[in-house]
């Protein structure tokens, strides 16, 4: 429970940290546009190279970015494999004929189950998965002895491979950029930046200040509520609640025994907080001055100009190439 980190902000100091959150958000948006406009593999590769150069300049280690990418690893691989298997355009590069018979299918299945079982003992879950995957393919393609009941041919086409790489690069760039934003920006600054950037939405009656206030209070109270939840779990554990034991019916009661106190405490808390806020003259929707001033620095103008030019350039390349 204590290890949940919201927003993944990691304190540090570099130009990425010093940038105005508004600029970070706008720059991120411009770069996203650029990344979606780019349709040449080499430009996309260049963009990723650019980011790889940017990281050490901004004093962000690759490891931290990898932690940002990790939860999405499965999605990345899935997209990659999907493109390779089902995109049949361009020149045929290679084929791999898989023949299923009871024996090799059982071996393949066994390998996979073994991996499921053994993965908790290794730190290299992903690498070991690739190894097992390769082994399964080898078994299925080479080891056909008796009674094959089906075949499947994997065909890899040039276009498919290139497009798969292209999509992979695009996703990596998007996730990396977002990770850089959350690593280098305090949640409160991000919130404030978002409020300012979305201010034009007021025209269509979206109250950005109120949304920002809600996010702000949520950020303030998430640690408190997690702490509370933890105490409730311990209090019920003291009454013999054991989450590893018990029948289904007991489990339901156990969960209720956590949820009811959680709800009651949260409501009580929000009621008291609302009173305290009103007592300090908070009126929803009334104009307020702000303690946190965002200061636009020369750096911000430069960054904005560079990202804007990059977006324009990528649109230019798209049209002219």
């Amino acid at each position: 429970m204590k290890n949940i980190v919201i927003g993944r902000y990691i304190p540090g100091d570099s130009f990425l940290y010093r940038m105005d959150p508004r600029v970070k958000l706008i720059a991120l948006f411009l770069l996203f546009v650029a990344v979606f406009v780019i349709d040449e593999l080499w430009v996309m590769g260049g963009a990723l190279l650019g980011i790889l150069i940017l990281l050490p300049l901004g004093k962000i280690s690759l490891k931290k970015v990898y932690f940002g990418l990790r939860p999405l690893l499965f999605l990345l691989i899935f997209t990659f494999v999907f493109q390779i298997l089902f995109n049949t355009q361009g020149r045929l590069l290679t084929t791999l004929r898989l023949e299923f018979d009871p024996l090799n299918t059982a071996i393949a299945g066994g390998l996979f189950i073994a991996w499921l079982f053994l993965k908790r003992f290794t730190k290299f879950t992903f690498l070991s998965f690739l190894g097992v995957f390769a082994a399964i393919l080898t078994v299925l393609s080479q080891l056909t002895i008796y009674l094959p009941f089906g075949t499947y041919t994997i065909a890899i086409y040039e276009e498919g491979l290139l497009f798969a790489i292209f999509i992979l690069l695009r996703l990596i760039i998007i996730v990396t950029l977002s990770t850089i934003l959350t690593i280098t920006t305090k949640p409160t600054d991000l919130n404030l930046g978002l409020e300012r950037v979305l201010k034009p939405l007021k025209v269509i009656k979206v109250n950005t200040e109120e949304i920002a206030m809600i996010i702000g209070i949520a950020l303030r109270y998430i640690p408190t509520l997690l702490d509370e939840a933890n105490k409730i779990i311990l209090a019920q554990a003291s009454r013999g609640v054991d989450f590893q034991e018990g029948k289904f019916k007991d489990k339901i009661v156990q969960i209720i025994s956590l949820l009811v106190p959680m709800f009651i405490i949260s409501f009580q808390r929000s009621d008291e907080l609302a009173n305290a806020m009103e007592a300090r003259c908070f009126v929803p929707g009334k104009p307020r001055t702000r303690l946190n001033q965002l200061i636009w620095k020369p750096l911000d103008s430069v960054v904005l100009a560079v990202t804007f030019l990059f977006m324009v350039a990528s649109i230019g390349v798209r049209i002219l190439w």
Binding site: T188, G216, I217, L219, R220, P223, T224, D227, R269, E272, L273, N275, A276, M277, E278, A279, R280, C281, F282, V283, K286, P287, R288, T289, R290, L291, N292, Q293
Partner: protein
């Protein structure tokens, strides 16, 4: 004219009356302590005064303003409240943000805001904690931040609503010291508590029970009245046991009355 006047105020939650025909007047610069057991209606009173609850009948006045829907915001600007639970009134992500919260609501301009934050953080001894988050503070420190946030809004009256009940002795003593300091500066204080030790230094004690005022008067009189305190489910403080015993034997001299009063102030 009194700075805060309640006249025949009545309030009930559903059918159970919480406040019954209560009248009270607080003078400018006065320190009034309302004492009473849990459920005597003390805290309902605070909510009525700043219009978080609406009285069913009666009148509440702050200076020359009568509390109504149109004046409630003006009245809230004049009254600051420190609530019981330190965690449920800390709005900001840091100490600085929290002190600023009320100022932002009052649309205080930025440079003045910075100035007031500094002044009042110093006044409560929290000036070295401005960048700290609430999880890094003790309950007593959070309450001090709440006081700074309230004082920074320059209220006419400051209400302490059981503000010490969740603190350890050190936190309680620090809060009491701040209240005495405020009194010296001429601030009007309304403090609500069930801890009679907190009523020793005020100007007037009001004993509440079941939504009404049983009696009010100087601490030296009220705090010695064992029958009255018993009726309000409160217990006599240690020094007054000696005082009452000596007095009942007609052996209480002025000197010993003074000594025992002094000893009460050490509690």
């Amino acid at each position: 004219m009194s700075i805060l006047t309640l006249k025949d105020v009545f309030f009930s939650y559903g059918k159970t009356p919480a406040i019954q025909n209560l009248s009270l007047a607080v003078e400018a610069g006065e320190w009034v302590t309302i004492v009473g057991p849990n459920g005597s209606g003390k805290s309902t009173l605070t909510k009525l005064i700043i219009g978080l609850l609406a009285a069913k009948s009666g009148e509440i006045r702050v200076n020359d303003l009568t509390l109504s829907e149109s004046t409630v915001q003006k009245i809230r600007e004049k009254i600051g409240i420190i609530f019981q639970n330190p965690d449920n009134q800390f709005v900001g992500v840091t100490v600085k943000d929290d002190i600023a919260f009320g100022l932002e609501n009052l649309s205080v301009p930025y440079p003045e805001m910075i100035e007031r934050i500094d002044t009042y953080a110093k006044a409560v001894g929290m000036d070295e904690y401005l960048e700290k988050e609430p999880s890094q503070l003790s309950g007593g420190q959070k309450q001090r931040v709440a006081i700074a946030g309230t004082l920074a809004m320059h209220p006419d009256i400051i209400i302490f609503d059981e503000a010490t009940s969740m603190l350890d002795p050190e936190g309680r003593h620090a809060m009491m010291a701040i209240m005495e300091d405020l009194k010296r500066q001429g601030k009007t204080i309304l403090s609500i508590t069930h801890d009679l030790r907190e009523a020793l230094r005020c100007d007037r004690v009001v004993v509440m029970h079941e939504g009404t005022i049983l009696k009010s008067g100087e601490p030296s009189v009220i705090l010695r009245d064992e029958a009255l305190l018993k009726q309000a489910r409160l217990t006599l403080l240690e020094p007054f046991k000696y005082m009452n015993e000596l007095s009942s034997q007609k052996r209480l001299t002025d000197q010993w009355e003074a000594i025992l009063w002094e000893s009460a102030l050490t509690l």
